[in-house]
């Protein structure tokens, strides 16, 4: 009995091993590099869910070039070292293109590896400016760049009529880049920057920092970091009994912000973000929302994971439009021929550098029910 069992297990494994290459030849393999573990794991898992849902839908309609699509997901751990290993594994697993990833410094660690392997990379949440300034031919992104957001942040603060501005970032390359961009633009305006410093992400107690900002007496605080810290800042600000408005960057666009801060503390929080699919009334966005709800019985978390879905959509369009999975042809198609493709986050086109074209940012405000309301 025992022996027969072992033999049959061995046979099954042998069959599986033989089966692998045959299956691989018949599919279009698309890589997904996402933070499936680590501090950004919730973003990464949303990315995976969304990309897998879209691939499944496309497969049900017959796939691409007559083949089924296979998603190969690798974990970058939200960490540059893990990411370079993940990128090497993906580069060696015969993928036609890679979607991802979320953090700018993580994408940066993987860019050279994909470029060398001539693999098309479509990043979804990496907004640091320099990523597309290196002249890497096969790099594109569905998210806007920080300089775009910095301009919108400065303009929004000016439009709201604030005179004394505090800027707080968290020393990640994304948050610092955005803070520097906004600071540079605001210094040319008739306003005063009364505070500029960074907090340490991952801590729980920001009372020290809030006490210090309060002493500087700003009319408004621009926080360019991520939602876990933004939530705690809002909550502790309320406990201090301090009523200053906060404007956040797009990394605070996550429903967990309200959960962490509590509805009462989060009310009145402003942030900038590309529009979430809930707020778009295009057909693509609506179909996606209902399909996602049906499959996972939840709403997609943040816009960044949805942008990974758009990454998948443009790849599918590139393969369909160029009729091949050749990297050069796909890149040429995306940069020159793809114009205003209706995506999950609005119309998509790319410029020569691989950046998404068009103004995308909107101002949102958290209302008393904790809902994110698009501001006119």
């Amino acid at each position: 009995m025992g022996k027969r069992f072992i033999t049959s297990v061995a046979v099954v494994f042998a069959l599986l091993l033989c089966g692998q290459p045959v299956v691989a030849a018949d599919t279009v393999r698309v890589g997904l590099m996402a933070p499936l573990t680590g501090a950004w794991a919730s973003e990464g898992q949303d990315m995976k869910q969304i990309v897998e849902l879209l691939a499944e839908e496309l497969n049900n309609q017959g796939g691409l070039l007559g083949k089924q699509i296979e998603i190969i997901a690798e974990d970058d751990g939200g960490d540059p070292k893990t990411a370079s290993l993940a990128a090497q594994r993906l580069a060696n697993s015969d993928v036609v293109a890679v979607i991802g990833t979320y953090g700018s410094s993580i994408t940066e660690a993987s860019q050279a590896i994909y470029d060398e392997a001539k693999i098309l990379q479509v990043a979804n949440g990496s907004t640091a400016i320099r990523l597309s300034e290196k002249g890497l031919k096969y790099f594109l992104r569905t998210c806007p760049r920080d300089d775009e957001q910095g301009k919108v942040a400065a303009k929004t603060l000016m439009d709201m009529g604030f005179k004394k501005i505090a800027i707080l970032h968290d020393n990640t390359s994304y948050a610092k880049g955005l803070a520097d961009e906004a600071k540079g633009l605001l210094e040319k305006e008739p306003v005063e920057i009364v505070f500029y410093d960074a907090l340490t992400p991952g801590e729980r107690d920001y009372n020290t920092i809030l006490t210090k900002i309060k002493a500087a007496g700003p009319d408004v605080v621009l926080f360019t970091g991520y939602y876990p810290e933004a939530g705690l800042l809002m909550r502790q600000k309320m406990e201090m009994g301090w009523n200053v408005p906060f404007l956040g960057g797009d990394a605070t666009n996550n429903p967990d912000l309200v959960k962490i801060a509590g509805k009462q503390a989060a009310e009145g929080y402003y942030f900038l973000s590309p529009p979430v699919p809930q707020d778009l009334d295009s057909k693509a966005a609506k179909d996606f929302m209902s399909a996602f709800k049906q499959k996972y019985n939840a709403e997609p978390g943040s816009v960044w994971a949805v942008l990974a879905g758009d990454g998948f959509n443009v790849l599918a369009a590139a393969i369909k439009g160029s009729g091949s999975t050749d990297t050069e042809k796909m890149v040429a198609y995306l940069k020159t021929q793809l114009k205003d493709m209706p995506g999950l986050t609005g119309n998509i086109s790319f410029d020569e550098k691989g950046d998404r074209v068009g103004d995308l940012y909107r101002v949102y405000r958290v209302d008393a029910d904790g809902k994110f309301v698009l501001q006119p």
């Binding site: 410093d197 340490t200 959960k259 962490i260």
Partner: protein, 301 residues
């Protein structure tokens, strides 16, 4: 002056939690000379267990806020203590005779295991304690407003530290723990069951860490599976600052670290507060290599 006082209370609130976690590091190190790197994760598990019990049992509907917290604290204490004993039995006891590095590697492994198991069970999203659990009472001390819960956290840390110190110094079991800390072989010859003493140390240390996790959950609200790392690191630093292995040292080190951080952030730069805190640590270790209170090696526990 108000700014100074505000930052003083900020620093004490953070430091009280560091101190409570540092007590657990110090207990284990004192007896086993082992840095229990999984301690920060036991702290994190305490925070998760507290939230699960709170929501699953619906306690907040039946009891007053302080009753809820007291009951939760007892349950978390017990559960994390059980986990601590299991951890010792599975990850450390088989390596008791091995090189000390093996046990440290095993501790790191346990830490990674705990983090990932919590992520698999609860998911990677942030979890949040109910916002209305604690009444937001504010007490005025010399005319300065201080949230009541901060005073309670500090008080709880002091009470646990004093209780632990008395237990170690005044009871028979405490004497056995001290004896095992000095020389396990000799303690065994005197008829002390060293395995049981070590198991007891792994009841007390993790239990304190678990309660600290519960407090962080209640006070700050937001918990996630990676929170043990940063608190563990800071508490470990606090334990070294005060003299690792020394119970009042953990308390002094924790509060001092909290205050250094708060004042470095207030009067120097926020981004540099950790660098400054570690500079102070290095300076103190240069002058006193055993930490602030770590001189009496013979009474180390």
């Amino acid at each position: 002056m108000e700014f100074f006082f505000q930052q003083l209370t900020n620093g004490l609130a953070v430091g009280g939690i560091y101190a409570l976690i540092a007590l657990g590091y110090t207990m284990v190190y004192g007896v086993l000379k082992l840095i229990n790197f999984a301690h920060g994760d036991l702290f994190m598990i305490g925070a998760y267990l507290g939230l699960t019990l709170l929501t699953a049992l619906g306690l907040a509907d039946h009891l007053s806020p302080f009753g809820v917290i007291a009951l939760l604290a007892v349950m978390v204490l017990a559960l994390v203590a059980i986990l601590g004993v299991v951890l010792e039995r599975v990850a450390y006891r088989p390596l008791r005779q091995a090189h000390r590095l093996s046990a440290v590697v095993s501790a790191l492994g346990a830490s990674i295991f705990f983090q990932n198991i919590v992520m698999l069970i609860y998911g990677a999203k942030f979890h949040v304690y109910p916002h209305d659990l604690m009444p937001r009472t504010v007490v005025h001390i010399f005319g300065m407003p201080v949230p009541l819960i901060r005073i309670l956290i500090l008080l709880a840390s002091v009470v646990m530290m004093v209780g632990l110190y008395t237990f170690i110094q005044r009871t028979k079991v405490g004497t056995a723990i001290r004896a095992a800390a000095i020389d396990q072989g000799a303690a065994r010859l005197m008829g002390i069951n060293v395995d049981r003493v070590i198991a007891l140390v792994f009841v007390i240390g993790p239990a304190l860490g678990g309660v600290a996790g519960l407090m962080v959950g209640i006070y700050y609200g937001q918990i996630n599976f990676t929170m043990g790392w940063i608190y563990g690191l800071k508490a470990f630093t606090a334990a070294i600052l005060g003299g690792i292995g020394n119970i009042p040292g953990a308390m002094v080190g924790g509060l001092l670290l909290g205050l250094i951080e708060a004042f470095a952030a207030a009067y120097l730069s926020i981004a540099w507060k950790d660098a400054f805190a570690f500079c102070v640590l290095i300076l103190i270790l240069i002058v006193r290599p055993t930490g602030l209170l770590g001189e009496r090696v013979a009474e180390k526990v």
